[in-house]
């Protein structure tokens, strides 16, 4: 009974993590489309939510990496194996909450992997860690991918300007806005493909640890559907929050830059997903945004923010690992059964509610001025942040583009 209760708690926590991942990442996925006027906020968010859902069904390579190549499922198999997975998840969720509260940019994906590795090491030692998988499939791609997105986006925008440089700006802008509908859709699809699979991988790992699945099994269909639904719901919810708060400051890019940044991000994430590399989609998208920005003007990039992202990247894995290990220690102290996870979950819920209330009273985090969680929204800070976002010269307000059918009171 205890074991199944822990399994249920792990699955709920994993899906909650997936939901918050979609919630946080909405800004990254839709920011450039909205800021260049390629899509209205409502349409961009709805489109992103649907494509995040669809993307989760495209591949299971990343889920396989999480379930088999980061830690050895058989090494943690045993009495409290589910507590290891649970502790890893709590390490990731806690680190996300801490970074959100203090306005630090970080990666949910790295927090998840760090948390699980930390809990596994605390439980059975370093022998549980699949060193080759962790380095070869997580750490190296984590460094390569954002740099690659940066370079590819820079090359792409240079090609764009080379081909369309002397044309009339009006049709060109309209053309790239149409192009952004495609590139933005691909980015959402890629995001769903890579990020939803991380949750699938964790749930699969828990099911293997529980004995419900045999080692080496692929994620069952109900796991895929539930992870896809959670990230899509999170994207949609996060989007509405952003629409309400984004009247404000976002990237100032032209449509060609937005197209290049999104196209580069989508290409890197999809190619990496195909080979089973669990990336930080946030870092990749940020890399693309920076590449598209710097190709036009070096000073367009807010290098201080980029530096913060690198700093947070370095800190995230060890910090989430430490919290995961500590959480596992608490589950051991409380007897190794369901008592620990139940108590930790209850305390966490109270702390999360308290943090939300306190943050709401304090107002928006200063770093971006949007009020949205900072942890995964840093893309909106990198290139020429701080200017009021406009579409066709009209400011994007709390509920859409001023004077457009999206404005409150105009859509019946």
């Amino acid at each position: 009974m205890d074991v199944h209760l822990i399994l249920v708690i792990v699955i709920v926590a994993a899906l909650a993590f997936d939901y918050t991942n979609g919630f946080h990442d909405t800004a990254n996925v839709v920011a450039t489309s909205i800021s260049t006027g390629a899509a209205s906020p409502k349409a961009a968010v709805a489109f992103a939510a649907v494509l995040n859902f669809v993307g989760a069904f495209i591949s299971i390579e990343v889920a396989t990496t999480i379930a088999k190549d980061v830690i050895d499922p058989q090494a943690i198999a045993g009495g409290d194996s589910l507590n290891v997975v649970y502790s890893g998840l709590m390490g990731a969720i806690a680190w996300n909450l801490i970074t959100w509260y203090f306005g630090l940019p970080s990666s949910s994906s790295h927090a998840l992997i760090g948390g699980i590795v930390g809990a596994a090491v605390a439980a059975v030692g370093t022998g549980a860690v699949e060193t080759a998988g962790l380095i070869g499939k997580v750490l190296v791609p984590a460094i390569v991918a954002p740099i690659l997105a940066f370079l590819v986006a820079g090359a792409a925008i240079a090609i764009c300007y080379q081909i369309i440089g002397k044309l009339r700006p009006g049709p060109v802008t309209r053309g790239y806005r149409y192009g952004q509908i495609v590139s933005g859709g691909l980015l959402a699809l890629a995001h769903g493909t890579n990020d939803a699979q991380k949750t699938m991988g964790v749930i699969t790992l828990a099911l293997i640890a529980d004995g419900a699945l045999s080692p080496g099994s692929d994620p069952p269909i109900w796991v895929i559907v539930s992870a896809a639904s959670a990230i899509a719901l999170g994207t949609y919810s996060g989007g509405w929050r952003i629409i309400k708060t984004t009247g404000t400051k976002i990237i100032k890019m032209d449509a060609a830059q937005g197209f290049s940044a999104q196209g580069a991000g989508a290409a890197v994430i999809m190619a990496s997903s195909h080979f089973g590399f669990p990336l930080s989609t946030t870092h990749v998208i940020n890399g693309g945004v920076m590449g598209a920005g710097v190709a036009k003007r070096l000073s367009a990039v807010r290098w201080g923010v980029a530096g913060n992202i690198v700093g947070a990247w370095v800190l995230t894995l060890p910090a989430a690992a430490a919290i995961g290990a500590f959480t596992y220690g608490v589950t051991v102290v409380t007897g190794g059964g369901a008592v620990g996870p139940v108590a930790i979950s209850a305390i966490s819920l109270v702390l999360i509610a308290g943090a939300f209330v306190r943050r709401a009273r304090m107002g928006a985090p200063a770093a971006d001025g949007t009020g949205a969680p900072i942890t995964e929204d840093a893309a909106s800070l990198i290139v020429e942040g701080g200017e009021v976002m406009t579409v066709d010269g009209k400011p994007v307000t709390a509920a859409g583009i001023a004077g457009s059918p999206d404005e409150p009171g105009r859509d019946g």
Partner: protein, 79 residues
């Protein structure tokens, strides 16, 4: 040591696929925009032959855009 741990072939394939896909889509979309914009310009200048050629380039860009994206997604789904 690092080369042993890292699946170098997969990483290089991933890098190559990213570069090829992003650059290819950028080129064909830009050609589509170039073609449709120049079609209007040439048409207004009365250069019908050039306008038709530009429209052909634009149309080819659109077709190739759809083809490249569809190929990429099919390859991913096929594993």
């Amino acid at each position: 040591m690092l080369a042993v741990l890292v699946a170098v072939d997969d990483l290089l394939m991933s890098v190559a696929a990213s570069v090829v896909a992003a650059v290819a889509v950028t080129v064909v979309v830009s050609l589509a925009i170039w073609g449709t914009t120049k079609y209007v310009d040439f048409h207004q200048e009365g250069r019908q032959g050039a306008a038709v050629a530009a429209l052909g380039v634009g149309g080819l860009g659109l077709v190739l855009t759809v083809a490249i994206i569809a190929t990429g997604i099919v390859m991913m789904v096929a594993g």
